[in-house]
């Protein structure tokens, strides 16, 4: 059985009000199929819930899908909370409809990667695989 002794753990969910979870479910499945342990938290999460869950689950990365247009506020809030909790080692990445301009400022603020609607699943999986598992 192909179990890595230190599988990457990734929290995947949606923050904010939009209810479109098809993409995020596909990503959760693709990451699982790549051998990762994916904690799927579902819809309508607040940044506070996401960060609290990420710490309890000791994940290596958080992947958030935001299609509501509130990406600037929400991603920044998650980064802020991670910093407050001394948990900046957890990599934050995301997906959604995010204008290039916003993507640039968000990555400058600390979001590790952002993937648009047309991004190949392979790229997302490769990005997460490039992160190092803890302990």
């Amino acid at each position: 059985m192909a179990v890595a002794s230190k599988p990457l753990r990734v929290l995947v969910g949606k923050v904010g009000l939009d209810g479109h979870d098809r993409g995020v479910k596909l990503i959760a499945r693709a990451l699982r199929d790549a051998g990762m342990e994916v904690i799927y938290t579902g819809l309508h999460q607040t940044p506070e819930q996401v960060v609290s869950a990420a710490i309890q689950e000791d994940v290596d990365a958080i992947g958030l899908s935001i299609l509501s247009g509130a990406h600037n506020t929400l991603f920044r809030r998650v980064l802020e909370l991670l910093k407050e909790q001394d948990a900046e080692d957890i990599a934050l990445f995301g997906g959604g409809i995010i204008p290039d301009e916003d993507a640039l400022t968000l990555t400058a603020a600390g979001v590790k990667a952002l993937f648009g609607p047309g991004a190949p699943m392979e790229d997302i999986v490769k990005f997460v695989q490039g992160l190092k598992p803890q302990g």
């Binding site: 179990v3 790549a34 051998g35 342990e37 904690i39 710490i55 302990g135």
Partner: protein, 261 residues
């Protein structure tokens, strides 16, 4: 917590001892990190000895049963019940790892959102990583970490797919099996497996047709059968009382003793 525990290795005995001390002080991040270390190094368990604290007691409750019977919702409701009684509550939710990729999709938290921001509730998803018996290899150690961190009620949700889920019997003081009405064949199968080891059987979704039949059927086999509707909370206080009654009848037991028995 300090970033010094990042990338901490089990071989760093000093670092691990500091981490154990932080766990005992109730530091959530330290508890999370230590559970990860124990998951990743299941044979390297010396740290468990540092967690032992006989002044702390925890009740360990196992919740098992087939997928779709409502285990996570029952667990969610029990968390709410114990929180209202002022207990710190830990949840270990175990799901199966894919035998193909080794990955896992862990979704039990979805049904436990109500407690997401409660600082006195800790929820951890664990994947089996190829371990058989219904739990992950490190689930018992994770329960010890939570006990050391001061969690007083520890709920363990098993993967719930088969008859071979016997690990939970050795770990939990009380085992609750959750079934849904109308699962005729599955209940038949459970009679030969889980139901033999469950101390309490819950017929959840007890507002569905067929509930009375299932209750009658199971009462011929099991000493304690209760009806719940976990989505509304109906029957949960009775379940908590049955769990307490079972534990009274057996005397209070420490987690590590339960492991060894």
């Amino acid at each position: 917590m300090s970033a010094s525990s990042l990338g901490l290795s089990m071989r760093d005995t000093h670092g691990v001892a500091i981490l154990a001390e932080q766990v005992r002080a109730g530091n959530v991040r330290a508890a999370s990190r230590l559970i990860t270390l124990l998951e990743n190094h299941p044979k390297d368990r010396a740290v468990v000895g540092l967690l032992d604290d006989t002044s702390r007691e925890a009740t360990v409750i196992g919740v098992t049963g087939y997928p779709g019977a409502g285990k996570s919702t029952v667990v969610d409701r029990l968390v709410g019940f114990y929180r209202r009684n002022g207990l710190k509550v830990g949840v270990l939710a175990v799901d199966i790892s894919s035998p193909v990729s080794g990955g896992a999709l862990l979704g039990d938290r979805i049904r436990m959102q109500e407690h997401a921001l409660d600082r006195e509730v800790y929820i951890r998803s664990m994947a089996t990583r190829g371990h058989h018996g219904g739990l992950a290899q490190a689930t018992g150690d994770a329960a010890l970490v939570l006990k050391a961190a001061g969690y007083e009620a520890i709920l363990i949700e098993t993967i719930g797919v088969g008859q071979n889920e016997i690990d939970i019997v050795n770990l939990a003081h009380t085992v609750v099996a959750v079934v849904a009405p109308g699962l005729g064949d599955e209940v038949q199968a459970m009679k030969a497996g889980l139901l033999e080891v469950a101390h309490i059987v819950v017929v959840n979704k007890g507002d569905l047709p067929g509930t009375d039949h299932t209750l009658r059927d199971l009462r011929e086999w099991c000493p304690k059968v209760l009806r719940t509707v976990a989505t509304t909370g109906e029957g949960i206080p009775e379940l908590a009382e049955a769990i307490a009654g079972h534990q009274r009848s057996r005397g209070v037991r420490h987690v590590e003793n339960a492991r060894d028995r």
